[in-house]
């Protein structure tokens, strides 16, 4: 194979992007565990681990810049590097959202609206991230479209959860209930729960971005970017 060093750098970039995606997905998983179990130590690990994600993200950004500046990539190689450059930003933001979730786990004192299944929504978002990265690794365009289609389902789950929370809040359901909660405390918790749902929905949006960039990378097809 010609241009051996260049080819090995491209392969390394792909491996590193996949590693970053595994790391961020793991952090989201930990954050969901922390939320479910109110595990502050685990939540703290996620928050502290964000520095590592940021460092890898910046290293990969520099790798992409080096490849562009020094290797003059064209055609498929150029699309791969351009797509990777954008994808790592989405992955880094998923990492940020994992720290948000971890912070909610630390802050939450009361389990309001236990009927809202955060784990189920979180798993759906994470599945989309996994599928988008599978598409990137295997260059599978069908998977890219599948991720985009699944986002509607995630959005619906999140909308339903938010509406349910707001409806119950308006009905004053949990302000009475067992009488343990002061209205102000409940409001803080409800707000946190709404933010949790919103952040999970955003993880899905980032997965769609990854799929869209991957589709562009594979087929020069920008249809998912709009």
């Amino acid at each position: 194979m010609a241009r051996n060093t260049y080819q090995s750098r491209l392969n390394q970039l792909e491996e590193d992007v996949l590693y970053l995606s595994e790391l961020t997905a793991e952090r989201v998983r930990f954050a969901l565990d922390a939320l479910e179990d109110k595990d502050e130590r685990k939540a703290q690990e996620v928050i502290e681990g964000d520095r590592e994600i940021n460092r890898i993200y910046l290293d990969l950004e520099q790798d992409c810049i080096d490849l562009l500046a020094l290797q003059q990539p064209v055609a498929g190689d150029l699309r791969f590097i351009a797509a990777s450059f954008k994808i790592i930003t989405d992955l880094e933001r998923i990492g940020d959202l994992a720290t948000n979730l971890a912070q909610y786990a630390i802050d939450a004192e009361n389990d309001v609206y236990a009927e809202v299944d955060i784990r189920r929504i979180g798993d759906a978002a994470l599945d989309m991230v996994d599928q988008a990265m599978d598409a990137y690794e295997t260059e599978d365009t069908d998977l890219c479209h599948s991720v985009a289609e699944r986002d509607d389902n995630l959005d619906t789950m999140c909308d339903n959860a938010s509406q349910s929370i707001v409806r119950d809040l308006m009905n004053g359901d949990d302000f009475e209930g067992d009488g343990d909660l002061e209205p102000e405390t409940a409001l803080v918790d409800v707000r946190r729960l709404l933010l949790t749902v919103r952040d999970l929905e955003r993880i899905g949006d980032h997965a769609v971005n990854v799929a869209a960039r991957t589709l562009y990378m594979i087929d020069n097809d920008d249809s998912l970017l709009f």
Binding site: A69, L70, Q71
Partner: protein, 296 residues
């Protein structure tokens, strides 16, 4: 037929150290630790300096071709020299193995050391120097001899006894040519393609086991595929040799070199730094203008 043109006399001498095999005084060996340190420009790693120039000036008659060139070239790396035509980059390359000695009107001043020993000292034999500093030229110039004889030419002419079969195989393997020619070692080197001929010249240059390989536009006469093969080869050779390459093609310098020296008109070394630094954030506006195509 141009392929059969004989290489200029000076080029043959430079490649094989054959100016006068009987006058075979070795370049005086010196302690490499005598006052030399790794390049001040080196970022991220400490490599030993192999070639160090200090205020080198070259004149061709009244023409001041190089002005106060100071740089340290690190070991086992690729150092590229780029710049517009006439900027002095090839002149500097030719200072390293004293090829400028062969030009009557050329005058060199300043210090240029190879592992701490000034190559312009009176006790340095240029022929012995060129055995340690091999050279490959722009146009592939194999001798009108067999592939085998081309590779061992330098050893034979210097009367160096060696297992020639082994040298041929090893040199051709290092030059990434062995697999293509192993069954026709006794056919003429001139029957090879241009890219193969250039790799044969590289095999010939490394057969005498030099420390430094100078390459003056080694791929500029080749097609893109052969160019890519030479570029891969240059990167591999840097594992064993210190490679200094002159190229008009600044993208080539970006692709394959560790350090880049930018010469600009007037024989001035404007910037010398890690290649990544030169191509991503050069210190000099003139260098930025040159590499972005705004000037030069």
């Amino acid at each position: 037929m141009s392929q059969r043109d004989k290489a200029p006399e000076g080029e043959q001498q430079a490649m094989n150290g054959t100016e006068d095999p009987t006058n075979d005084e070795m370049l005086v060996e010196t302690d490499v630790s005598d006052g030399l340190s790794a390049s001040g420009n080196s970022v991220g790693r400490e490599a030993e300096t192999v070639i160090s120039s200090e205020n080198i000036n070259v004149w061709y008659g009244d023409d001041h071709a190089l002005t106060d060139i100071s740089m340290d070239i690190p070991e086992n790396s690729v150092t590229a020299m780029i710049g517009p035509s006439g900027c002095g980059k090839s002149t500097f390359l030719r200072c390293i193995n004293r090829m400028n000695d062969l030009i009557d009107v050329a005058r060199v001043e300043g210090g240029l050391t190879l592992r701490g020993k000034n190559v312009y000292d009176d006790d340095v034999d240029p022929v012995a120097l060129r055995r340690r500093v091999g050279m490959v030229f722009q146009k592939p110039n194999p001798f009108p001899k067999s592939i085998y004889e081309n590779v061992v030419y330098g050893l034979k002419i210097q009367g160096i006894d060696a297992d020639y079969d082994e040298v041929v195989e090893e040199s051709l393997k290092r030059a990434a040519l062995w697999d293509e020619v192993k069954d026709r070692l006794h056919e003429s080197g001139l029957d090879l393609s241009g890219g193969q001929q250039q790799r044969l010249c590289i095999a010939r240059a490394i057969a005498t086991d030099p420390e430094v390989l100078l390459m003056d536009e080694p791929a500029s006469a080749l097609d893109p595929v052969a160019t890519s093969q030479i570029e891969d080869l240059v990167e591999e050779l840097a594992e064993d040799y210190t490679v200094v390459i002159v190229t008009h093609n600044m993208q080539q310098a970006a692709r394959i070199s560790d350090k880049t020296a930018v010469f600009l008109t007037g024989g001035e070394l404007v910037e010398f730094d890690d290649t990544q630094k030169i191509f991503e954030n050069p210190e000099s506006q003139r260098v930025e203008d040159y590499i972005t195509g705004k000037f030069g």
